[in-house]
Amino acid sequence: MLYTVIKKNLFQDSVSLMLLTNHLSAIDGVNQIQVMMGTPANKDIFKGSGLYTDELEDASPSDLCIVVNSDDEGIVDKVVEETDEYLSNQSSESQQSSISVVRTWEMAGNKLPNADVAMISVAGEHAAAEANKALDRDLNVFMFSDNVSVSDELQLKQRAQEKGLIVMGPDCGTGILDGVPMAFANVVDKGNIGIVGASGTGIQEVSTIIGRNDGGVSHAIGTGGRDLSSEIGAITTIRGLQVLDQDAETDIIVYISKPPAPEVREKVVNVFKTLSKPVVAVFIGDKPKAAHDNVHYTWTLEDTALKALELSKGNKASADRIIADNQDDLNKMKETKQQYVKGYFCGGTLAYETAMILEDALDLDTTGKHTEGMMLHVEGHEVIDLGDDQYTQGRAHPMIDPTLRIEKVEEAAKDPETAVILLDNVIGYGAHEDMAGVFAPVVQEAKEEAAKVGKTFVAIASVTGTADDPQVYQDQVDKLEAAGIIVTESNAQATKLAAEIVKYVKGEKTIATNVDQQSNENDKVAELIASKPRVINVGLKSFSEAVLEHGGEVVQYQWAPIAGGNKRLAKILEKLK
């Protein structure tokens, strides 16, 4: 029996209605069904499929016509219900993912023109060819694939070297580039420890221990296990060490491998000696040798991580990074000849320590007159212990009453010669309940005032205290940092940093990143680690997702062998240019 439903003035396009027809055909009890607009041509189609009814005669092209053939009249209600539901809910679910998928190198280049690394995980027999295509395009290579011949590996690494690129791998299981995990990597906070490793799980073990102990990793460069063989001669290892040495984010370099061939080991250790940053090296399985130059040897992966953490917290090199981060300000200070440190302390011993370190670091000629709280007063440098009796007469100790220190800071900020203002912040029971909360706005305002006359200065502080103190160590640090104050791990570090800054603005010090910026144009590896990687992922799609999730850019190259693996056609294609 044929049943007809006409829905007046309900226009739907024919594709929707064909889909709807398919959908309704599946209802139990429907023998046959057709849903179409009531155009003359469609009425013919109803006739052609034996579903024409007289009711269709009056249907207009803007009427939705449903004709159902069923043995059960009750089915009509069901059909109408399903139709209404379908039409009101027909936004198709799109399968689009946020990762672009391409099928050729050319298109990958179009989608991500500034790509800087290709991650390759295709089968080993094809991996070298794809890596060469990546090098053709001046891309660094992260090669997850294994089963690549030694001769191919050597060719790729030599070629990369000539072009100022790096080939990580083959058989490189893991890496972290500017906080973005590559292949099998753990999520570790960003920090100042850089890793070069010939062992994937070694990198993972060390980086996760660092992460669990509140440290962080700047970059982890996997080299592939064979990089240390005599044939390859540590090409990638050496490049990795050098690039981390130049990297402003990295203060400590960790090196992880199994013991390599003796001559290669010697080569690598010689590179260690040329680096400006401390190296923590583990040759897994070898008893650690005595430390020399800037190099510390460890026995286990855990030792390695812990040693690196220790160094990362009290590290001289971090001055370079801070200078690099504040270079614009510091260069301005160079021009305005702001060269002096002003330190206002509430802790007498801290003030004394600062004076001592500055004298030494800046080679100041002092006769050591530490009277009336004035710990240092040479040229424009000034370090005062505001807790000295001289200053506490008639008022509370500066650990409780910050009034005088605020005045001093404001004064120093206006002094045209001030480069750095140094502060301590001693917390604990009895101390001011929120010294950081007081100084944060003072410093911020002083900076804004200075900016009005085209000036700037650097504020550095350390916090003496613990997480269990009532003021809570980290809360104080956070407040200071939020106001643009650099907070160091200790007063000694704060002072050393101040001294380095003074040396820099006096032109007595240059930093590695300065040099970098000039040579960066050709150093595509430095460029690679200087910002979040932009990856063409050739192979396993899951690697793309991790890159994207951590702020990298990525294009998924859905790789397939050329000409479906037909070698003859592939060969023709190669020649037919």
Binding site: D13, V15, S16, M18, L19, T21, N22, S25, Q32, I33, Q34, V35, M36, T39, P40, A41, N42, D44, I45, G48, S49, G50, L51, S92, E93, S94, Q95, Q96, S97, S100, V101, V102, R103, T104, E106, M107, A560, I562, A563, G564, N566, K567, R568, L569, K571, I572, L573, K575, L576, K577
Partner: protein, 421 residues
């Protein structure tokens, strides 16, 4: 070789495409412009074809055309005549023409004349008959034949009179550029272009001195026929791609076509040769009561539109028809056009697609890229019933078989003296 490399030759091909200035000049009887049609001759779609290899719908179209031309009075006689080999078959493509589905075109059927003003090349295509039971899908009932006669006697002459009033003819590029921004991809969907055509032609129809009844019929027919522009687009694509084929070098596809038996392609560097492989059957949506089992294998010269970079290649231009592919969301349409871009060497700036961030439609299918990636062009197509006389039963997409490209690549290797050794 006039070019330093295949890539350079291919750029030459693209240049010719981009410089083309197609204009719709006239609508005339096919025999007046295609001399081969004088006699018992029928044009068909795709590569050369024998009667015995034709699928039912194409044979049905031949029967319909024989009745239309008056070569036979009834179906049986027509069939006997055709089986006896009395009618000569020529591919449309061989005589500067293209035809949709069966592509069957006979002497007295009107064809559109599209000329490339740059080189005076012309191409022809018959007129769209509307949908349902129509000759191109293999239907040949009295209704079908009578409509063909009306097209010959009324529609064709009316359009001719209108077009002749437009100095230099109607600029097709203008209509196409507008319509692609209105959601047409020019194969599955031509409603915007058809409406624009109607809008542009009506003033001239009004001044063509037509009897009022004929005027009404013609306007009504054009208003009802959403795909009317498809045939104009086919002739346009043909003349543009033939203009590009004069380069006679390179690896760009200049024709895609199928006859229900074979899919054939032509390549810029390989002249007039067809490279063929067994045709696929479309994947799509069907009218009620029909399924993939009823579908005729793919046919028609309409894939010339994909050669020009529209149709399935420009899927993203027509969100309204995207559900013919895959699950059919917008993302799939993007993906389809993105995928097609992989096998093309350029984008056509004259055909900027709003939904594709105004990227131009894909242009220049490179057979090397097709073979390299295994990605074959997507064709948007109608689906004919495999039995003659039923007509259209659905629409969908079909892929060009890879074999065509592999053979063409081998031929290209031979031409350029390249071996696999």
């Amino acid at each position: 070789m006039n070019y330093q490399s295949i890539d350079e030759a291919n750029q030459g091909v693209i240049q010719h495409v981009l410089e083309s200035q197609p204009f719709l000049l006239d609508v005339v009887p096919a025999k007046s412009v295609i001399s081969e049609l004088n006699g018992k001759v029928l044009l068909h779609s795709g590569p050369p074809m024998k009667w015995e290899n034709m699928t039912d719908p194409m044979q049905g179209s031949c029967i319909g055309a024989s009745l239309f031309e008056g070569w036979a009075d009834n179906e049986d006689d027509a069939k006997k005549m055709l089986e006896a080999g009395e009618v000569k078959f020529i591919p449309c493509h061989s005589v500067d023409a293209v035809g949709p589905m069966g592509g069957i075109t006979s002497a007295n059927m009107p064809v559109v004349v599209v000329e490339n003003k740059v080189n005076d090349k012309r191409a022809y295509c018959n007129l769209n008959e509307g949908i349902g039971a129509v000759l191109r899908f293999g239907a040949y009932s009295d209704e079908v034949v009578n409509r063909l006669k009306w097209i010959k006697d009324v529609l064709g002459p009316a359009l001719s009179k209108a077009l002749k009033q437009i100095d230099g003819g109607m600029n097709v590029n203008v209509t196409v550029a507008k319509a692609i921004t209105m959601g047409d991809e020019f194969h599955q969907r031509n409603i915007a272009a058809s409406a624009l055509f109607l809008k542009d032609i009506v003033p001239y129809l009004l001044t063509a001195g037509l009897p009022e009844k004929e005027l009404q019929e013609v306007v009504k027919f054009l208003a009802d026929t959403d795909q009317f522009f498809l045939n104009i687009m086919m002739a346009t694509s043909k003349v543009v791609m033939d203009s590009a084929a004069v380069v006679e070098e390179g690896s760009i596809v200049t024709a895609l076509s199928r006859n229900g038996y074979e899919f054939g392609i032509k390549v810029s560097g390989l002249g007039d040769r067809w490279f063929t492989a067994p045709v696929n059957t479309p994947d799509g949506l069907y009218f009620s009561g029909y399924s993939a089992d009823d579908a005729n294998p793919d046919m028609g010269d309409s894939a010339i539109t994909e050669t020009y970079g529209v149709g399935g290649m420009a899927m993203i231009a027509a969100p309204g028809v995207t559900r013919f592919v895959g699950t059919g969301g917008f993302g799939d349409a993007v993906q389809t056009s993105d995928e097609m871009r992989e096998i093309c060497i350029a984008n056509n700036p004259n055909l900027a697609i709003p939904t594709w961030d105004f990227q131009g439609a894909c242009l220049g299918i490179d057979i090397r890229k097709v073979v390299e990636t295994g990605i074959t062009p997507v064709i948007n197509t109608g689906i004919a019933h495999k039995t003659a006389g039923v007509g259209q039963i659905g629409a969908g997409t079909v892929r060009v078989p890879l074999g065509c490209f592999e053979q063409a690549l081998e031929a290209l290797a031979e031409k350029y003296g390249v071996t696999a050794e």
